[in-house]
């Protein structure tokens, strides 16, 4: 849930404030603190839009462009999802962020026995390109950027998206997708993995390489500190792990003979925002700077655009509480504020009811309105990086930077992120801290309003999103129809070609595109990969 630790005396005066990343906050900051930490306004800050981009990657920040809002949406059948997409767009949402159900995330068709009870439950069910044709019907795919929250089978889903867009008549160089496509964080924090670490990273490399050549407006990977933070790590570790994961993907592509400036522009990040306001703002500022330094010094990037840390900052799921759910509306507003003060280019917010259910339309709209109020009424578009120069914020930004570098070094010492995940080092670290945090809450050493303090009051009834078994039946019916109507001999041949390419270590994307056009299913394509690559085994961390 993410809070700092406060040590108080018997008069309730605060003696110590210890942020989650381990930094102690002083009662007062002065110019001397900046001197002590070696703050150099030229080197550490520069102007917005200038290296090292601490103040933002655009010279005019939100003056030139408001942030993109992209609420996570999707449930039931593609038709239901399409209706919700249109609703959110009609209310001013400027991008889409597609939620897929668990069978799709795990590469299973809707009629797979393992999918029973899960079809369309936490996101939209997708079996074949037919489902995408329905989900994106009437959506201007040349104007609306689409986040695809999919990882283990990101290659398949991106191919399906391209095939759909082309079928609708959009040119491939006009569509802008952001497949999440970050498998290492799934192995650390979210759990939707299928194949072993190395072939999984290979597939990510295939997507990056393919986008570089074929889909210039598509961001091939959205590296997620977000879910690792949700699983229990500190804000400093969130950034350090995300960067080391990104470095792993970078090296996968460099090993194929490309130059860093050829492809790294397409990298984006998905970072979390909950916890202490100042720590969050400092985190984003430090992260922008360190990413630029990482690219320049570690990989020798020369193109300015290669150095931009771009991404979606938002969410804040673990900061939300099940107790007194309406409080989450207020928390959400502060998290969005922190994201804006941190210079987020794209944002999303967990809805107040998400500890109970996937968001109802009312809750999703409230999140959208939160962003709109910040941008239209509160003054967040007035000036770029408004907290710059604050004794406290600049000191804290430097301190966060040090903490992040320290955590990155630990991963380097292990031999990189692939090793750190295969041995369970990161998973162990994250689980340990999640436990310590929970103990802190239960013992009352850490405070969450409504959870272990100010718990009085009436309980609010949350309206639950109803799971419709009929949606699953409808989905399975459509899948069976597709299997009957398509040219099955052709599909078998396309899958065979895919298998050959995977075995040879060719880039699989062009083969997936053909499979998708031929109405092969997600389950069928995944099965090919399972046969070639095998399956991931979790390291035992206890």
């Amino acid at each position: 849930m993410g809070v700092a630790r406060y040590i108080k005396n018997e008069k309730d005066e605060i003696l110590e404030v210890i942020l989650e990343s381990g930094i102690r906050v002083k009662p007062v900051y002065t110019n001397k603190d900046l001197e002590d930490i070696g703050f150099d306004p030229e080197k550490d800050l520069a102007l917005p839009g200038e290296y090292p981009f601490t103040r933002g990657i655009h010279p005019l920040g939100y003056r030139s462009r408001e942030w993109t809002t992209r609420q996570y949406t999707g449930f039931g059948t593609p038709k239901e999802t399409n209706e919700r997409f249109k609703l959110m767009i009609s209310h001013g949402q400027t991008g889409l962020n597609v939620a897929f159900d668990l069978p799709t995330q795990m590469g299973l068709d809707s009629d797979d026995p393992l999918a029973e009870g899960e079809v369309g439950r936490v996101g939209m069910a997708v079996d074949s390109i037919r489902d995408f044709e329905i989900a994106f019907e009437g959506i201007p795919l040349d104007r609306i950027g689409v986040g695809l929250t999919i990882n283990a089978v990101a290659s398949i889903i991106l191919a399906m998206f391209q095939a759909t867009a082309e079928k609708f008549g959009y040119k491939k160089d006009r569509i802008s997708a952001t497949p999440q496509n970050d498998i290492l964080k799934e192995m650390i924090g979210r759990g939707a993995w299928i194949f072993p670490v190395k072939p999984s990273v290979r597939l990510i490399g295939d997507v990056i390489e393919y986008c570089m050549k074929e889909l210039p407006r598509t961001n091939p990977v959205s590296v997620c500190g977000y879910h690792i933070r949700e699983s229990g790590c500190t804000p400093a570790q969130e950034i350090a792990y995300a960067f080391q994961i990104a470095n792993t993907y970078i090296e996968e592509v460099l090993n194929r003979g490309y130059q860093i400036d050829d492809f790294v522009r397409g990298f984006t990040f998905n970072l979390n925002v909950f916890g202490n306001l100042w720590e969050q703002v400092a985190k984003f500022r430090a992260a922008r700077k360190l990413w630029a330094i990482n690219l320049k010094e570690r990989y020798g990037a020369k193109d300015k655009r290669s150095l931009f840390l771009r991404g979606i900052f938002g969410g804040g799921g673990y900061g939300m509480t099940k107790a007194q759910p309406e409080n989450n509306i207020i928390r959400g507003a502060y998290y969005a504020l922190a994201a804006a003060l941190g210079g987020a280019q794209t944002t999303a917010l967990c809805s107040f009811d998400e500890a109970y259910t996937i968001p109802t339309p009312r809750a999703a709209l409230l999140s959208l309105r939160t962003f709109q109020i910040l941008m239209e009424e509160i003054g967040l578009r007035d000036t770029v990086d408004p907290l710059a120069g604050s004794y406290f914020i600049e000191t804290l930004t430097k301190q966060m930077e040090e903490k992040i570098v320290e955590e990155m070094k630990k991963i380097d010492e292990i031999g990189g992120m692939i090793k750190a995940v295969e041995t369970g080092y990161v998973q162990r670290e994250v689980a340990r801290q999640a436990y310590e945090f929970e103990m802190g809450i239960q013992k009352g050493e850490l405070i969450k309003v409504g959870v272990n303090k100010y718990t009085e009051g009436e309980e609010m009834e949350v309206e639950l999103h109803e799971y419709r078994w009929e949606s699953a039946e409808e989905q399975i019916k459509r899948l069976k129809e597709i299997r009957r109507q398509r040219d099955n001999r052709k599909v078998a041949e396309l899958l065979k070609n895919l298998e050959k390419a995977a075995r040879k270590g060719e880039n699989v994307m062009p083969y997936l595109l053909e499979c998708c056009k031929g109405y092969a299913t997600v389950g069928e394509m995944t099965k090919v990969f399972k046969e070639v690559y095998g399956e991931f085994k979790e390291p035992n961390i206890f």
């Binding site: 936490v122 993995w193 206890f542």
Partner: protein
Amino acid sequence: MEKKIRILIAKAGLDGHDRGAKVVAQALRDAGMEVIYTGLHQTVDQILNTAIQEDVDVIGLSIMSGAHLPICDKLMKKMKEKHIEDIIVVVGGVIPKRDIPLLQQMGIKGIFPGGTPFEESIKWIKENVKSKS
């Protein structure tokens, strides 16, 4: 010395959110129990086989996706078929209040939605395992 309680913490189905399961596993271990964790993406059959092999007293299911009703229903039916109803089943995760009576009807008595204090669930497990033996 008293025999240690053996508990299987299980992640059933496709949901991969295991923060809660891992936190609870650590709490139960610190409370002196022997904890076995299945890892992710387990089918009901896999969970029951592990429970039998490991000779556990308790199965603790962690479910966050909303699929607790179909999963629990299947698990309880299969336990009857396999004649292992003596193993106590507890469930934690995102469990709406209105589903608690339905889970109880299936024969699940220990229901601990997210946020339940460890003290409470640990006490419940200890008492219920004791009264069985």
